[in-house]
Symmetry: C2
Amino acid sequence: MSEQNTPRKRRGSGRATIHDVARLAEVGSITASRYFSDPSRVGQERSARIAAAAKQLAYVPNMVAGGLASSHGRVVGMVIPNISGPIFAPTIQSFSDTLNRHGYQLLLASSYFSAKQEESAVRAFLGWSPAALVVTGRFHNRTTEKLLATAGIPVVETWDYAPRRKPIQVGYSNHAVGEQAARYLVKKGYRRIAFVQNSLAGDLSAVDRSDGYAAVMREHGLEPHIYVPTAAAPFDAGRQAMEALSLANGSGKRPPPADAIIFANDNLAAGALLSGQRAGLRMPEQCAIVGFGDYAFSSLLLPSLTTIRPPGREIGEIAALRILEQLGVLPAPEGDTRLNLLECELIERESA
Amino acid sequence: MSEQNTPRKRRGSGRATIHDVARLAEVGSITASRYFSDPSRVGQERSARIAAAAKQLAYVPNMVAGGLASSHGRVVGMVIPNISGPIFAPTIQSFSDTLNRHGYQLLLASSYFSAKQEESAVRAFLGWSPAALVVTGRFHNRTTEKLLATAGIPVVETWDYAPRRKPIQVGYSNHAVGEQAARYLVKKGYRRIAFVQNSLAGDLSAVDRSDGYAAVMREHGLEPHIYVPTAAAPFDAGRQAMEALSLANGSGKRPPPADAIIFANDNLAAGALLSGQRAGLRMPEQCAIVGFGDYAFSSLLLPSLTTIRPPGREIGEIAALRILEQLGVLPAPEGDTRLNLLECELIERESA
DNA sequence: TTGTAGGCGTTATCAA
DNA sequence: TTGATAACGCCTACAA
C-alpha cells in the first residue's frame, strides 16, 4: 500500500494513467496499452494482472491522449438539421447506439438547414480529430465540401442519395417517394391529384418528391398540379391548401380542383385533415390525403393518416455500420458498400 | 508559395498546427496560443499577423491536443434516457445549441432508463476529460455516483429536482405536477377523479405525480383512485384504463368510477381519447382527460388534449448556462444557482 | 510476446 | 506583453 507514492504532479487530471496500471501490474506500459486495445495480443498471466490492476485503480483510459497520439480519436461527428423535430431523432438514436456498442462516441451538432451553421459544425468537429463525419443531405457550401474532402476520414451523407458523389451515401430517393405516392393514388382511381409543397423554401427534398409526383402524373396523361401555400406555420399552410384545393367549390358548379392531395409532410397533411374534418368533408371519399414522414401523431388522427415512412432508424444504423467497417472495426462485407439506397414504406391507413 | 515547405512528418494529421501559424506570423507559438484563447492578451500588431496566418493556413485548433495539455477539453457529456422519444429532444437541442454558441461540443449517449447503461456512458465520457457532465434524474447506481462525485467537474442533474443532493439541479417537481392536474380538475367541479399510472414499472417520475394527485384528493376529502393498466403498449394501456374507468358502466345502474382522469403521459391519454371517441363518449362532459408531456400530437387530437407541458427546452438551456458559468465562460450571477426549480405549464385545451 | 524511445499539438509554468 | 521549456498520457515505430 505504501508503494502508492503520489508524485503530486503539477498538472494532470489526477486520475490513474496507463502507467500506473502497468506499474501496479508489473508490466511495461505498452503491454498494458496493447491489453486494452486488443487483449489477445498479451499473454494470459499479464492480462490477468493488468485487468486486476485496472480494476483496483478504477482506470479509465484517457481517450484524449490516445486520440492525440494516434491522430484520430474514437469520436464521430454528426451534423443534423435539427434534433427535436419529428424526423431525425430515430437516426441519431440508432447511430449513437450502434457507435457506442463499438466503443465510439457521438459528437452532435445541428445546422437548422443552414449551410453556414453546417460549416461551422464541421469545422468544430474537425478540431476533435474525429474518426469519421456524418452530414445530412448532399447540399453543402463550398468550404464544407473542401473541409470534408480534405479531412482524410470516412464521410457519410445521409437522408439523401446521390450515387455520383464521393462520400458514402445512406438514404432514399425522394423522387421515388413522390412517384410512390402518386402511383398509389392513381391505382386507387384518383385522377385530380394535387401536390402541396412545403411553404418553407429551401426544402429541396420536398421538391424532389414533387418532381417524382409530376413524372408519374404525366406518365398517365394527367395534369400535375403543384400548390405552394404561403402560410408559414405548417398546420396553417395545410389548411390553406385544403381550402384552395378541395373546399373551394364556391361557385357550386365546378368540382374542386383535387380529389386527392399529396402533402410534402405530415404536418401539412394534419393541418389539412383537421380543416377538412371541421368543414365536414368526408375523407377519403371526397378527398384522399397522403402525407410524408409518419410522425408520431399520424396514426392518431381521424381519419388516420396514410403516409410514407422514411427509414430514419435504418439510416442511422447503416451509417454507423459503414463507418465502423471503413475504420476496420467491423469486417468489410463483399461488394460496394458506398451506395446504400433504402426503401420508404407506404403506410396505408384511413385517409387514402 | 514555394515557402510552404511540407516537412512530411512521419505522423500527425497533416493539418496546420499552431506552430505553423506562429512561424508564418513570426511570433512564438505560445503567443499564438494566447491569441486563440484570449485575443486581448496579445498585442495589436501580432494579433493581426496571427489572424492572417491562421486564415491563410486554414488553421483549425486541435482540441484533442488542447484537451490533453489542459486536462479538460471543451466537450460536455450528456446522458439522456432516450433521444427519439417525444420528451427529451428539445432538451438536447437547446443544450447543444447553447454550448455550441460558446465553443463547447456535446457528447451524447442514451441510457434507456438503465442505470447500468448510464454508468457505462458516464465512464466512456470520463475518458474524454469533459468539462462537465449532465445526467437525467436523481437516481443512479453507486458506481455512477462515485464516478460523478470524483470527476472534479461540474455535474448537473436534469429533469428532476432534489434540493438536498450535491449536483446542480435543473428540473421541476413531479409531485407538484400531480397536484396541479388534480387541483385543476377539482376546481372545474369534478369529484370522481382517477389517476392512470404508467404500466411501465420503473417510471418513478410518474409515481411522484400520482403522489401529488393523491395528496390533493385527500386534502379535498376525496378518495384517490390510482389505476395501473397491464397492457404494455401505451395506447392499449390508455384504452384499457378508459374502459375500466369510464366506459365500464355495464350494469347500467352505477355511474362509471371516474368522471375525470389524469394520465401519466400523453400517450396513455391519447389511447384513452381515441377509444372514448370511438365509443361515442362525450369528452369532457362525460369524462374529462388530462395528460402529461404535451407531445406533438396532443393539440391535434379531437378533442384536443389538455395537458401539462414540462419545460424541456428550458431545462437544456439552463443546464448549459449553469455549466458555462461554473466554467467561468459566462459571468456567475448573484445568489445560489445550484437549485433551478422550473414550472410546468398546464395547457388548457378541449379535453378538460 | 514484450520493451524502449520519441513524438502527437497544445497549454501551464516560469522567467524576461 | 512575450517567449523557452516541459509536461499532458498515450501510441507508433522499431528492436529484442
